[in-house]
Symmetry: C2
Subunit: 191 residues, 2 copies
């Protein structure tokens, strides 16, 4: 039942069976309907989420009210506004479900207790933070220095099959282009 998250832990730390059970007890699991806000910009990001099923997005809303998708988080991905969560301050970004989803979540006090109980998790979340950093850096560098076509191919490589699951407008917003331009690129890439 909890195999997906246990396999995910196993990517970076080796846990004994009793540690797996201990760790799981710190997480809660909930079902979330499509288009639910799990974090509003300006509020404190109180949880780190692990996606068991479904798909979430993180987005930035600029001063003019326009949304910019920062990333998509389908099953087996972790998502949180790292800066807000660990520093307990208002989030720059928001998090919303794009599909009916099941998510595990953990609060900062629970996470600190988990670190004390099973110190290996310091390592796990250090690596997760590094990976988040890498994604974010790649995202920014792509936005600044790569063409829309290159960004589109990167997105498809990073998330095989996801393109069929989420609205065109969300992918376009992630790529920083109009839906019409995305549609044109899609047609061309089929050739």
């Amino acid at each position: 039942m909890h195999q997906l998250i246990l396999n995910n832990f196993a990517l970076h730390v080796a846990l004994a069976p009793h540690e797996q059970e201990q760790a799981l007890a710190f997480f809660q699991l909930r079902e979330v309907k499509k288009r639910t806000w799990l974090l509003h910009a300006g509020k404190n990001g109180r949880y780190i989420y692990f996606v068991k099923s479904g798909c979430l997005r993180m987005l930035y809303t600029d001063k003019s009210g326009e949304e910019h998708n920062i990333g998509f988080y389908p099953e087996n991905w972790w998502v949180c506004d790292i800066v807000s969560f660990f520093n307990e301050k208002p989030a720059s970004n928001a998090i919303q479900t794009l599909e009916n989803s099941e998510v595990y979540y953990i609060s900062l006090p629970q996470l600190e207790t988990l670190f004390q109980t099973i110190p290996k998790f310091e390592r796990f979340f250090r690596i997760l933070t590094q990976n988040g950093f890498e994604l974010y850096q790649r995202r920014i560098t792509s936005q600044l220095y790569k063409s829309a076509e290159e960004r589109y191919l990167e997105f498809r490589k990073c998330h095989p099959g996801l393109e069929q699951r989420i609205a065109q407008k969300h992918i376009a917003s992630y790529l920083g282009i109009t839906p019409a331009f995305l549609s044109m690129m899609r047609k061309e890439s089929r050739v």
Copy 2:
């Protein structure tokens, strides 16, 4: 002699005196002349640096060969291309000294041994990675959504006194403006 780095450790982890000595043994210290490249883009970032004195910069060089300063790292700052260092792959960014500097440095194998010897350092470097993430995120968000004036004031707040130590062209490159525009802003902010 090593008080600056020990005080820096103490910001996030409590070390017994024998642990302080143990930890220091994993770091090496070197003097570096002004304008020395500590990391070239495309090479693996083999070290994390802690600046004891002097000042470093991290920069991105775009396809047209133009340099974009990502950040400045004077005494008491840590600097490394996090993605390159932890994943042992070519760096997107380069690191150069802007002044004659003294830096502590540690390699990934040494760091892994330090984690085994004093597991508290997992926590220290997790927090350091989070702080790096925050800086990077703030840098990007500022670049996209704030005015040059706001960015200039943020820079002065983050690095009091640094403006007098480094060349105008480097600050302008960090702010994403021309040196002439920076000079104009400086005159206005004196009023």
